[in-house]
Each structure stands twice: as structure tokens, then as C-alpha cells.
């Protein structure tokens, strides 16, 4: 995050090479995800790994492609903490989903 307008102008000329590198990184992470899908791991561990990798990809897209890395910190602080907070509130219930199969009476 950069708070000085002088530097925003400096980085507004972020090179095509930077974007190409980010693109390659995103493709590589996608490859890792596809590889992971065919490894024999428990559902919750796979879910955690895939979400972790996807968050990294989302961060790359938001920071570089959507230019947020080069905007003022105040814009990021206005938009993202509440989004992350709301998503975390939803995730509280994921524990229930994992418990439900064990709580069903046997048929």
C-alpha cells in the first residue's frame, strides 16, 4: 500500500513484464491446484489447501491486475476488512457441516 501520490504516478507505469510475471504465477498456482485434486487426502485438508492457494491467487489479482497495491491504503481499509470479516462470520458454520455426517443416526 502506498500513501503518497507521487509514488502512485511512478508506479502507474508498472511494466507489462510485471503483469506477465503475475499471469505466469497464477497459471502455475492453477497447475498446483489441479495436481492436488488427484492426491488422496481427506476432504477437509484438501479444502483448506485449495482455499489457501485460491486466496493467494485472489490477492495477486486484486493487488496487481486490479491495481489495489498502488492505491491509497485508505481505499483498501474501507473495502476489504469488512468483506473479510463477513466471510469469516459465514465460515463459523463450516464446523457444523463437518459434524453433521457423524451426527446422523445409522440407517
Amino acid at each position: 500500500m502506498i500513501a503518497h501520490t507521487e509514488e502512485v504516478e511512478h508506479i502507474a507505469g508498472a511494466t507489462a513484464l510485471t503483469f506477465a510475471k503475475v499471469w505466469i504465477a497464477l497459471l502455475a498456482l492453477t497447475g498446483v491446484e489441479v495436481f492436488l485434486a488427484y492426491e488422496q487426502v481427506p476432504v477437509l485438508i484438501m479444502l483448506t489447501a485449495l482455499i489457501g492457494l485460491s486466496v493467494v491467487k485472489a490477492a495477486l489479482i486484486v493487488a496487481y491486475f486490479m491495481h489495489l497495491k498502488f492505491e491509497r491504503l485508505s481505499l483498501f481499509l474501507t473495502l476489504f476488512p469488512m468483506l473479510i470479516f463477513c466471510v469469516l462470520l459465514m465460515l463459523i458454520f463450516l464446523g457444523d457441516a463437518a459434524r453433521i455426517p457423524a451426527m446422523r443416526p445409522p440407517l
Binding site: T5, V8, A12, G13, A16, F19, A20, W23, L26, L27, T30, E33, V34, L36, A37, Y38, Q40, V43, L44, M46, L47, L50, I51, L53, S54, K57, A58, I61, V62, Y64, F65, M66, H67, E71, R72, S74, L75, T78, L79, F80, M82, L83, C86, V87, M90, L91, F93, L94, D96, A97, A98, I100, P101
Partner: protein, 209 residues
Amino acid sequence: MSSQVTAAAPMWEGGRSPYAVNSKKFGMWLFIISDALTFSALLFAYTYSRVATPNWPTPFHFSPSIVFSSVMTFCLLTSSLTMVMAVHAMNHGNRKAAGGWILATMAGGGAFVALHLTEWLNLIRNEHVTPFSNPWGVPLFGGTFFALTGLHMTHVIIGVIYLGIVCQAVLRGKFRAEDVEVSGLYWHFVDLVWMFIFPLVYLMSASRS
């Protein structure tokens, strides 16, 4: 302290921009955050059902489903790159190049929709999955799958139309760099959502047999 600031930039005479972005861009960011909450809720609903159902169907065979969805990921990621290049060209005042890059972005989006519809038809015809029923007796699968991917595909289609409007305006010398950047924000967001749908929906339900 505040009196000095007030003297330099009067509080009530406009021109203050705490975020240093124009209002269109800020508006698009607000829309993106609210839309992100919508997709988060749908993704959560899918993931909750997936984890809570031990006999969740895994109808996505490596070929064609996983291959198709991987290629679709490639299309969207590449179209994001071309969109960034369009904004880049526009910032340097090169309208013709910007128009070309936007057209390339639209081609990526069009390829995505075509592949996605093919993949839907494969699922409906060969695996007999509909929004309300499927052979494995887990109707939640079809409901959550089609709702989530359908809403995303709608976003892609709207994005292609939006970019088409921006593209013709850019080539006719209308619109400014910031307008292209705002349409780019929307496009990258559509790409970003797919970065979650692809692993959570397709890879989590990939058939290993």
C-alpha cells in the same frame, strides 16, 4: 493543526478526495465488494453441502470436465492479462492498441462461455444432472452447481457486452482511460470469482475413478 489544513484545502468547497480515485472507480469497487459477498454466500452454501454430504457426487471426470474447466481458467486468466494491457495502452494514450486488447479480452470471455456451455451440456446429457435431480440422489448438487456457475456465467456474458460497449467507444475516440480501467476492474473481479469456483466446485468434486 486543522486550521492550516483548512486554509490549504477548504473542507466544504469540494475537490477533496480521501481515496484519490475518481467516483466511477470507487462506485465499481463498492459494487465489487457487495457482489463478492453474494458469491461468498453461494460458494459457502456449496461447500457446506459438499462437506455435510458423505455421498456427494463426483461427476467431474478428468476428460472432459477437468480438462475443460482448466482451459476455461486459462482463458479467463489470459483475458485478465489482455485487459491489463488495454488499460496500460489507454494510459499511454494509445486508443487503437487499447481497442485491440479489449477485443482480445472479449474473445477470451467468449471462449470461456462457449466451453462452459459445452461442459454444462455434457453434464446434462451424459451424466443426467439437472438443477433438481441427478442419478446419485443428491438434488442439492445440481441446485448449488447450476446456481453458482450460472450466476458466474451471467457475469461473464454481461462483462463481454460491457467490454463491447467500451471497445467501440474507445475506438471512436470517446471515453477516457479511467472508463477502461473501471470496466477492467469488473472483468478482473469475474476472473477472481472463477479462481474460487474452479477449485471448490470442480476440483473438490473431481472423479478419481
